[in-house]
Symmetry: C2
Subunit: 460 residues, 2 copies
């Protein structure tokens, strides 16, 4: 078997079942191997920003990596903006990038590029395969690197001759040593417990797996037992929410609003989250959102076991039956009239099917959406984590591929949608269960708002 | 005045009149300064791949740089695929990229990125401005770097505090020391003259400014006097052609066709061009297109004065009045019937207005177009130089902005057009005189062809 087949078999043996790709000529042997692959599903895209955004959305829902297949330096470059978002979401992704064979790189050819230099800024693990005999082991190492907590971007560059040359026999698959996140020290949990037992107003800021499943359940028990408030950063990767689930408030995007929201808290416990700061800097303003006298404690770093730490912490407190409020018993009702932000939120809140996935990049048009949909049927909400716009449509593709039985509602600002509008083709081609809503305000609204905020005059 | 105003004034003083941009929040002070700029024209795009492709097209026609304004690392990343093409076209471009202020970079914020690392692979000159007092001098250096022959990509990163802080008074503009390309040594011209006087079948391979204007005219005189054949590489930046102009044949894309096309030549003189090689490598095939016994002489490297060298060389030969053939007297006539590649070429050949600009990324659908349009009214033809598809629509934007009085015909394959389809918005917004034709074969035709060429089985 050749290096390309060896590569794909190793990816399959390592549990990779999905390949998002927009391949080119230099990857044709890998494409041929994918064609013959027993388990790998290939999903085509017309632009690499769709590929990387889909791999991010897939990983957020599947909780394991997909692979991508990208065409040389320019193909990788096109994927980078959404890899920026994926790196901030801390999801696992395995990128396979083509490269010319060494013999061809001697010449001054049009597509010659330094793929390693292009890939490095957004690859926590990076390797160029030394030849066909190495591709399988390289792929295995890439998967282990990608699955190293909390999740990393691993890029394997496969020169064409490594793909087309004879690789020998593949060794039988053995279980990969997937690294587990370590628990924080017991003193960290004890300190958090002491903070929660104090009379000071305390909040938990949750990120990563602390925002869904067992992590969220444990956080909810802690909140019920102690009165602590649960927050998520504005840029979170995935939050489970809706009827029957603990309420987590998102920290506001606008700096002044966030300062107002957080000013009452004297203690903040970070669970895989960074201290909350503004997206952007402004002249003569601090970027910090918390009150100056707020004590911040890191319960877990992003690489540590936030779910385990929350479960350990929750066992320090007596379980109470969760508060039931009357509005939890029934869904909101839709309202009628002209289209308005409030009306859109009410429509979503009342009609969203249970177990849906909402992908949200509604930007300025949608800043009230989360508050208005907190009492919908239970669902997952995925947000832009890195501030590079153009992820909503690709992420909806990835979420739908990861979980074909669930409905995906994709909410995108018009400007954001234009970055990666090619994703609509992939949705149509594969019949994905995605409903896409574009908030068409026909304006650079975020820039107008920020321009005004800087006090630099009237925009032209 | 602040650093942003100082920056824009220095760009204007250095002859930069056009800024293609898709700015973000961190560049708002630069946007405000652009708003107040006296001479600079801003052209907005909805995606940064349009920005960089437009700057390339602008430079090919205007023969001087435009600037771009890009939003942090992800904005730069989105521009990179078309910067790859621009770097292969060897055009001048000045990129201005935003960056968070140092105070804000201390925090773990969503849009934090290593802008220098992202920009480095496609920036021949790269600098982060040290502060407001330095932005004007930095801009001047960037322009000089960009205009260093044959043309380079210069990237200046401007942290937000360098834009918003006080810069002091700008010094009066002085003429920039724009570097001129050096002539090659006289032995190089003498050797080319000796080759042209031999009885061996000889060709000139022209690139850069040798393909239009004075360079092309001198090459035409040499061809007329000596019988040498004129070629352009398949990936050329700009060619002047049509009725009354010297005939230059493009080297074929397909390796076997190019080998057949070049096999009769025993001598090849390179004028700013690299030796012709295949785009891609294939197992057990050489990438070289010329005959093994073809002697290759470098008359000029891309950084040397190819136009001057051709003029010097042409003066070694007696001037003959150019051959007139009967078909030069009149334009081709259109043909009727179903749409076909031949019919499209005939339509363009007969109807193309004089002095138009044709932007060609028609890929597999258009491989006969240049042959079929050689006898059109005189025009410029711009091609994809780096093999990263998705440049046609942006390049048409840039060409139309550079030369508003000329008509632009943009020919794009459907797959290519999907990469940067956002360019249609810019064409509409500014009423650019661009007619865009999409060759919709609704297939990954180039991949099917290459897949078949590799003998790796039937595609799935």
């Amino acid at each position: 078997m050749n290096g390309a087949e060896s590569l794909i078999r190793a990816l399959e043996a390592g549990g990779i079942e999905t390949c998002f790709t927009n391949p080119g000529t230099s990857e044709m042997h890998i494409v041929a191997a994918l064609d013959r692959a027993a388990k790998m599903r290939c999903v085509l895209a017309l632009f690499e920003g769709v590929v990387s955004g889909a791999a991010d959305g897939y990983a957020r829902i599947a909780e394991k990596p997909a692979c991508t297949l990208l065409h040389l330096g320019p193909g990788f470059a096109n994927s980078m903006a959404n890899l920026h978002n994926a790196s901030r979401a801390r999801v696992p992704i395995v990128n396979i990038a083509g490269q010319h064979p060494a013999e061809h790189l001697r010449y001054d050819t049009p597509l010659k590029s330094d793929v390693e230099a292009i890939a490095r800024p957004y690859s926590q693990w990076l390797r160029t395969s030394s030849g066909a005999a190495a591709t399988a082991a390289d792929a295995t190492q890439a998967i282990i690197a990608a699955r190293t907590p909390p999740g990393q971007i691993a890029t394997l560059i496969v020169p064409a001759e490594a793909a087309w040359s004879e690789a020998g026999q593949l060794h039988p698959a053995t279980a990969l040593p997937i690294p587990k996140p370590p628990m924080p020290g017991s003193d960290s949990v004890e300190q958090a417990a002491a903070m929660l037992r104090s009379n000071l107003r305390t909040a938990l800021l949750l990120a990563g797996p602390a925002l869904y499943g067992r992590g969220l359940a444990a956080a909810g028990r802690i909140a019920d037992a102690t009165g602590a408030k649960l927050f998520a950063p504005y840029p979170f990767a995935r939050m489970e929410r809706g009827l029957g689930l603990p309420r987590v408030d998102r920290i506001h995007y606008v700096l002044e609003d966030a300062i107002e929201q957080l000013k009452e808290f004297r203690q903040l416990i970070l669970v895989g989250a960074a201290p909350p700061v503004a997206y952007f800097a402004y002249p003569d303003k601090s970027s910090v959102m918390t009150s100056p006298d707020c004590k911040i404690h890191v319960l877990t770093t992003p690489s540590e076991d936030g779910v385990g730490a929350l479960e350990s912490l929750s066992s320090d407190f007596p379980t109470r039956s969760p508060k039931k409020t009357s509005d939890e018993a029934q869904l909101p009702t839709p309202i009628h009239g002209d289209i308005s932000p409030h009306g859109v939120a009410a429509a979503i809140a009342s009609l969203l099917p249970e177990n849906s996935i909402v992908v949200d990049e509604s930007m300025t048009s949608g800043r009230g959406l989360m508050a208005g949909t907190a009492r919908s049927a239970a669902h997952d909400w995925l947000a832009n984590t890195g501030g590079s716009i153009g992820i909503a449509l690709p992420m909806a593709v990835g979420a739908a591929v990861a979980s074909p039985e669930r409905r995906v509602l994709c909410l995108s600002a018009d400007g954001s949608s234009m970055y990666t509008v090619q994703a609509l083709w992939t949705m149509a081609r594969y019949g994905l269960k995605v409903a896409t809503v574009i908030f068409a305000n026909r304006a650079y609204a975020v820039l107008k708002r920020e321009f005004a905020g800087l006090g630099v005059g009237a925009p032209g």
